[in-house]
Point group: C2
Chain length 218, copies 2
């Protein structure tokens, strides 16, 4: 796409992404028509297609936004003096800042990512970046003697990344409040994985199951 005014272009694309995100959270990706996004963004189909070449490309924009967020969450790990504390802080920060909207949107995006080959490749690269950052931090902590040696940092980073992904998926299934309930157990699991010789005094907390609550969809 050509553009004469980069600022206008960026702002317009951000507005479309925001409008689309609102629609996707309300109705789901495929139940949302381009007409819906047009209405929410206040423009005609022709205009929308001037900024995004297709519906998946809007998702790609959201994935890119999420990648930036994940980068910010993981950045402190690179220089943290205490890895486990930093990981727990990252987890807590994630749990504290995530909203129902984020989780639903993330689930919608994850769904589409697994379906679309180009989006999947984009997600693969992001996933590998994430694992690499984590692995680097783990290798440093091993070298300094902070955590147990004798396991491959890349393998452990993949395990931890998978654990977090899996718990977020479950959170998408059960609702945000389940993230908070899972947090102590997740932190405990992290410590056990990285520092298996030491047992924390704090036992894993039971998880409040709660009734099958429906989310509010205004």
């Amino acid at each position: 796409m050509r553009t004469r005014n980069p600022d206008h272009n960026t702002a317009r694309r951000a507005a479309i992404i925001e409008a689309a995100a609102v629609c996707f959270v309300e109705r789901g990706f495929h139940a949302t028509s381009m007409k819906d996004v047009c209405a929410a963004a206040g423009m005609s189909p022709g205009t929308l297609y001037h900024y995004f070449r297709s519906k998946p490309e809007i998702i790609a924009g959201i994935v890119e936004d999420e990648r930036r967020q994940m980068h910010q969450v993981l950045a402190p790990l690179a220089t943290a003096p205490d890895l486990i504390a930093a990981l727990e802080a990252a987890l807590e920060g994630l749990a504290g800042s995530l909203t129902d909207r984020d989780l639903i949107l993330h689930a919608e995006v994850a769904a589409e990512v697994l379906r679309d080959p180009q989006l999947r490749e984009q997600a693969r690269i992001t996933e590998r970046e994430t694992v690499a950052v984590l692995a680097e931090a783990i290798a440093r902590a091993q070298a300094s003697g902070e955590i147990a040696p004798g396991f491959d940092p890349g393998a452990m980073a993949t395990i931890i990344g998978g654990l977090v992904d899996g718990l977020l998926m479950r959170a998408a299934l059960e609702g945000v409040q389940s993230v908070a309930a899972l947090l102590p157990a997740a932190k405990q699991a992290l410590a056990r994985l990285l520092r298996p010789g030491e047992q924390s005094a704090l036992a894993l907390q039971p998880i409040a199951a709660g009734p099958a609550d429906e989310r509010t969809m205004p």
Copy 2:
């Protein structure tokens, strides 16, 4: 739906599900039209709608099949004398029997499940069943002194379930061969989580990253 011949009905539904699964794996759920499924199953739209009321209901049928499979995988845990060995065997069995087709289909299904409220409720129930079976087995192993006490069985079951889900999600992203490469690390993680006092002699294996290979889509 009314039916006069239950056997014919069951066989017809199974044939439709199989035809749909082939299409979904080849083209993805939403890129597959009902016309495609009709052609693969060799019937007209009217006939297909006689057996399944909607496209999501076909997915619901696949989810039900997966639930039965998961039940079979978890059944041995209920009576296993050695929980960790049984868990490792279950993980190995899963990794050994899963094909690229299964993973892609599972990803397609998971995507749709998160989108559709009814499918999500169905998945919630399945997830809770799975966690309950696992939690029960963990509680037994704690009582017998096989694994460490002091953590909530339900919380640990959720963590382990999340870990497996997350790794399968990554496998869907990277391809089946990544499951095999992850297996030793996953088993190690399992032992660390449940028996943190003991360190296995076997170190976590490095994971072969490999190039960004494309899957064969015939």
